[in-house]
């Protein structure tokens, strides 16, 4: 039951003046440099709009007041969304309330049943054909509804709404892009109450946000040509700088995956020219160079990335409008555009250096990284925590491996000791361990794999320093711990949640093999071939697929002149090499890979060749 008598027109003017003043205040807040002042002004304007809306909605809905009321509703929603940086359920309710007010004037509300927003929009747009003066405000509200639905992925509802708005009966409702493009909101009248953002502005924002979302989605699911066209569309639209950088980076990723590295490079350079967020394009560039095999350029981009991330750029204050950024999906660590934190980038750089054989650089970078993580008294840097990634002990171990590789064994020992001392409280009590050993109890303490690995690396460092005795004792200690650990051990509380990475069966086997071979090699160096033979034999049993173990065994057997066994082993090796190589892409931890590379027999091709001759010749005779 609506009263069609408009409230006193002077009252209407008063409200309108209030609205205009609040909008101007919000715009002043927008331009204010001081972010605190800005936030307070915006909060005050928001509160003012809320009050104004309450007083407007306290009266029965009337057609002459409705355009103003809807404008205030829109301003309120826009300001609230931009202050809280996101849409919530409240905004949906605000929109719904606005629509119900329109229907109230038409007496079409009927019994207040639970009606979906879609149905409400249908009835309102139908009713609005009778009330042309409401159209501009309704289009603006529809723009906000579209933004809400876009940000919550209700694309079907969005398409249907736009279809109704455009008045097009035919055409598939699926082609959202087309609907967005054809939507032309009526021009605002010059004497209308002030608005924060008009419907055309909203349309442009929606267009860019939609195409970029679409492109990113297609890129993630691997539908590259579609992604490319959507991203192109996004780049050609009205696009604020930071978003443009993202779009160009996504284009770079897309083109790299499509095998167009040169074109990808062009976009990445554009992106780098674009703005202050340099992280994602730099990371993408490093991936691109890695694909091209240009290691120097790859490492250079990574170095730049570390530098770029060290600057905590004070993010520009967001506009008090509905912006493209608000409508983009939440940043996700799995997204191709995620570049992580500085320490994560530093870790990537260090490990790439180690992998590409630049041990000195790697060692330096690892030391920098550890300093960054451990010495900062203030928590400014996060550990390379991205999943799946190494946990802190592994970072220590990689650093030690890099130092040994770079010939800095003493430093490596220091790093290992630091690791053990820091974690000492978590390690099982060793005295207890020996006591129980004597008692022969079966309860053995569980020791995380990384502790054994630390002893392995310590042994390797001693090897490099020429201290055989220490080396052998470290290797033995490592083996002692390793044979207690079984891979299916449920790790106790002391384990970190990313231990899974180094807990796999394969890693345990390879670690055992590496420790046995390392100790064997030390025995060989001390001339104790029988002891060496024992270790090599065990390592072959432990890890039959490990060729290195077999070759060391072969060499020792030959040295001991145990020809028959050597021949048998050689035949087995031959048969193994002839077999189709099994897929051996288990991803071992980087420190283990590095360690395994040290104990690889250097001349194993020539050795096998020699053996072939020595084995085959007597047979030919």
């Amino acid at each position: 039951m609506s009263l069609q008598t408009p409230p006193d027109s002077s009252c209407l003017d008063l409200w309108r003046e209030k609205n205009d003043q609040l909008v101007r205040q919000a715009k002043v807040a927008q331009d204010s440099d001081l972010s605190l002042r800005r936030q307070q002004l915006a909060q005050d304007a928001l509160e003012g709009l809320r009050e104004l809306l309450h007083s407007l909605q306290g009266l029965p809905a009337a057609v002459p007041v409705l355009p103003l009321e809807l404008t205030v509703t829109c301003n309120f929603i826009i300001l609230k969304t931009s202050v809280t940086q996101g849409f919530t359920e409240d905004q949906a309710l605000d929109i719904q309330w606005g629509l119900e007010r329109v229907l109230e004037t038409q007496e079409q509300l009927g019994p207040r049943l639970e009606r979906g927003l879609r149905d409400l929009w249908d009835s309102v747009l139908y009713a609005s054909s009778l009330l042309p003066e409401l159209l501009p405000a309704l289009h603006r509200l529809a723009g906000l509804q579209a933004a809400l639905w876009l940000s919550t992925d209700h694309l079907r509802d969005l398409a249907l709404l736009l279809q109704t708005l455009n008045g097009s009966q035919s055409g598939s409702s699926e082609d959202l892009l087309l609907h967005l493009k054809t939507w032309s909101p009526p021009a605002e009248e010059s004497d209308a109450p002030l608005t924060l953002q008009d419907a055309r502005g909203l349309r442009d924002v929606l267009l860019t946000a939609f195409t970029y979302r679409q492109g990113l989605q297609e890129l993630i699911i691997g539908n590259l040509p579609k992604a490319l066209s959507s991203l192109h569309e996004a780049a050609s639209g009205l696009c604020p700088r930071p978003v443009l950088v993202q779009v160009y980076t996504a284009l770079g990723t897309c083109l790299r995956k499509m095998g167009n590295p040169q074109r990808a490079l062009v976009y990445l350079i554009e992106a780098l020219k674009g703005g202050s967020t340099l992280g994602p394009p730099l990371l993408e560039a490093s991936r691109l160079y890695q694909q091209l095999g240009d290691t120097a350029a790859e490492l250079e981009s990574l170095e730049l990335l570390v530098e770029a991330l060290s600057v905590t750029h004070s993010s520009e204050a967001p506009q008090l409008l509905i912006e493209v950024e608000l409508l983009l999906p939440r940043p996700d660590p799995a997204s191709p555009l995620h570049c992580g934190t500085q320490s994560q980038a530093k870790h990537l750089l260090a490990s790439r250096c180690l992998q590409t054989g630049r041990a000195e650089d790697a060692a330096e970078h690892y030391l920098d990284l550890l300093a960054l993580l451990l010495d900062g008294s203030e928590p400014r840097f996060s550990p390379p925590h991205s999943l799946p990634g190494p946990c802190m002990p592994e970072v220590f171990l990689e650093a030690a491996a890099a130092l040994i590789q770079a010939g800095r064994a003493q430093d490596a020992l220091t790093v290992c000791e630091e690791l053990l001392s820091r974690a000492s409280s978590l390690l099982p009590k060793m005295s207890q361990l020996w006591k129980d050993d004597r008692k022969g109890t079966k309860d053995l303490p569980h020791c995380p794999l990384w502790v054994s690995a630390t002893h392995l690396l310590q042994g390797q460092a001693w090897v490099q320093l020429g201290a055989q005795k220490e080396a052998v004792s470290e290797f033995s200690w490592c083996l002692e711990l390793l044979f207690r650990a079984t891979p299916e051990d449920k790790e106790q509380g002391a384990a970190s949640n990313c231990e899974q990475g180094c807990k796999s069966d394969v890693a345990l086997q390879q670690l055992r093999a590496a420790a046995l071979i390392s100790r064997g090699l030390e025995w060989v160096a001390r001339g104790q071939d029988t002891k060496a033979l024992q270790d090599f034999l065990l390592s072959v049993q432990m890890c039959p697929g490990n060729q290195d173990a077999s070759i060391h065994l072969l060499q020792t057997l030959r040295r001991l002149d145990r020809r028959d066994e050597a021949t048998a082993l050689w035949w087995r090796l031959e048969a193994q090499t002839k077999l189709p190589q099994k897929d051996t892409t288990w991803s071992l931890p980087l420190y283990l890979e590095t360690c395994l590379s040290w104990i690889r027999p250097s001349d194993h091709e020539t050795l096998l060749e020699e053996f072939r001759i020595s084995v085959l010749e007597p047979r030919d005779l």
């Binding site: 002990p393 974690a423 099982p428 509380g493 990313c498």
Partner: protein, 884 residues
Amino acid sequence: MAGAAPRVQYLAGLCCPLGGLASGKPRVLCHEAEAFLSTGSELVYVYDLEGGLLTAAYRFPGQVWYLELLAPRRALYVLCARKGIYCLSLDHLSRRSTSQDDGDSEDGELPSSVIPVGPDACVLPDASLCAFTVLDGTLVTLVQGPTQWKMQLFECPCPGGDPQPGGQIGEVELSTYTPPAGVPGKPADPRFLPVLCCMSPPASRAPHRHLWGSGSFTLKEALFGLLFGVDATLLESPVILCGLPDGQLCSVVLKALVTSRSAPGDPKALIKILHHLEEPVIFMGALKTEPKAEEAAEETLPGEDVHFDCLVALGHYGRMLAIKASWDKAGNLVPELREYCLPGPVLCAACGGGGRVYHSTPSDLCMVDLARGSAPLDPTQPEEGPGGLPPLLCPASLSACSVVTLSVSSRAPEGGTELLALSAKGRLMTCSLDLNSEAPGLSVVSRANTGQKIKELLSGIGTVSERVSFLKKAVDQRNKALTSLNEAMNVSCALLSSREGPKPISCTTTTAWSRLQMQDMLTATCLLENRSAFRLGQGWTLCVQVLTSSSALDLDSAGSATTYTIPVDQLSPGSQREVTLPLGPGENGTFDLPVTVSCTLFYSLREVVGRALAPSDSFEDPFLDEDPPNVLPEQEGICLPLSRHTVDLLQSLRFPSLAPPCTQAPPLRSPADPVDTFLEACWEPGREPGSQPVGPASLRAAYLPPSVACIKVSAELLRAALEDSCSGVPLCCATLQWLLAENAAVDVVRARALSSIQGVAPDGADIHLIVREVAVTDLCPAGPIQVVEIQVESSSLADVCRAHHAVIGRMQTMVTQQAAQGSSPPDLRVQYLRQIHANHETLLREVQALRDRLCMEDEASSCTTAQRLLQVYKQLRNPSLVLL
């Protein structure tokens, strides 16, 4: 230790709202010789402990929810509800402090100057902030998002410095939660706020004093590593512990929380859920329970690097969790976790020296001791490795009730502890505990000490009197509840035992028409009469349920029920109460007759007993609105049905023709009868010259003959039934009087001896009731039998149906009564009855067929079908059958 004699001393009285302070939001902090207090209002007070007076009061723009002090920067951080975090410099405070008259006065006077805090002191405006904690360089906040808790990390803004808020350096979303129901846009105040607490590893190279604050603890390595994992240990990173109102306890490694602004952290990698208390977490802290180390700790100054070895968390209903690290037989580090039940509801708590936890309930302030020495030692326990937690805790009372916030003072006297507490009445007090109670010297009281002693005794009396007044009130309430329960029992027994005869408490329902708000309303009046010897007191409610039948025209719609509850309040024996309720027309102007009105008496146990039994209830009552746990039986009350009354068409008929002309109501026919409008439109005088003018009435008669239904009843049967009322009156008139017995018009009908009457149905249609005697010949072999025929005639088919239904209903009741008295029907001609029965069967079958056809046919042919259906119905309503 239970023998420790607590000494309570009142320091000051603060303004407190009516009903006392609620728990959860008031805070007391003490630093050196100053204490900072907030009562949950907009004010923060500064109290000088040495001078014994309030030195300043600050007025913030909103309610103060939390305080924290960052000592090295000499800054006080204050969380204002729905405003944000404000920061005050302490140097600034001391400059402003003004001298003040006697602070011991308990009149709640403010210091002469209340200093307003302006928006320029705001360092982090955010309306949805619920908790925070400060570390030296960073500010950790908890924000209530629309669906989730969000933890955010900021560079610490300093007071009076750069007004720019420190940049956000990290963010992660915690668990889901259900937002409290409130008006959209105006969220309700949360009843429980989340609790934040910072735990750091001992080896941390950062200076420790920066972690000063009520929410920071340094844990022993083993416990720290066990709880928070190897990464946190290696990084030596502080960990933020978070206790949520839903009972979750989770931890976030602070160094790992640093993320870029563009990407919030991955909750799976960052958040570790430690435990679920299943009740709102109100306190978290750490204790030192190792006895050997305890001595060492007491030697060091409090606040110095004490490494705690036990983590405790306390829930609102008294569930306490304690976690320690220990080694199993094999030498593995394993957590030892124990849950205790303390008396609840807990208002606040604090951790003291040693293994002591102080916690306050509305009725007492208690202390429990988790230290190893407090429980009998197990001699078989291996000497290395931390000792176990005690299996049971015995709370020791400290004799102070309703303390809403508590803090362990840093100025502890030797060998004792001093607690600074704020009671629900706004009194600030210190509670000194001499823990070495066996210390001699009590007997030797010097003269100089006597004055002090007397003062102490007096303030002890003050505490006791506060406690007594509270307990007395609780007892009174219980007595009242018991009296009320006893009365309720008597009433229930009286009502339930009187199966025959009039009930001692009755409710009669009558209907009448009245004119309300320009509209005629049918109202029902329920008269509750108490003829019993007992009083209906507080807790009783009269529930009247009005149940409408489903509309006859719409088979699918179910009837609607409206329940009115009217508190009886006080109804003494012999008195009565009248309640009038509208029955119709409903919002759409229709009547859905018949309507059933049932009256029930309800006694609410929750209202009467719940309040008295809930242990939490007290004058400071922050808990009135909550369910007392487990003290109430399953059902919420007692329900006693009183009466049930059906209002049908015959009761709601009106007879304008009978009314005296002067008081005759305006024509009741609803103005917009569509049929009439149509007929009127059809009838245009002069359109057909020559033909006599035809009114709508005659048109209606011609085209829409009134629907008719009739019921025949054997006169003998009726006469027997109406024996007492029909003496001297013709049977027809008696029958009509009987039918309209519950109508207001019955007197007129009786006075004029009418046998037919023209009335108006509630929806405005005319209804004609005609009663006449006829003879039926071919039914009985013994000759014709006298029969009363009741004919219902109306232009509205629906009303005919309703009236027919009402008449049949009365007949049914009458026949059942007569059958009980054993009257025998006369001989009948069975053949004839069979014939009638067969006829009806065919008619019913035809109805079924027609209805089926109606569903399938198109419009044109369905019209004829519908007409045929109407005819058949008419035949059915006019049976040749007689009720005998």
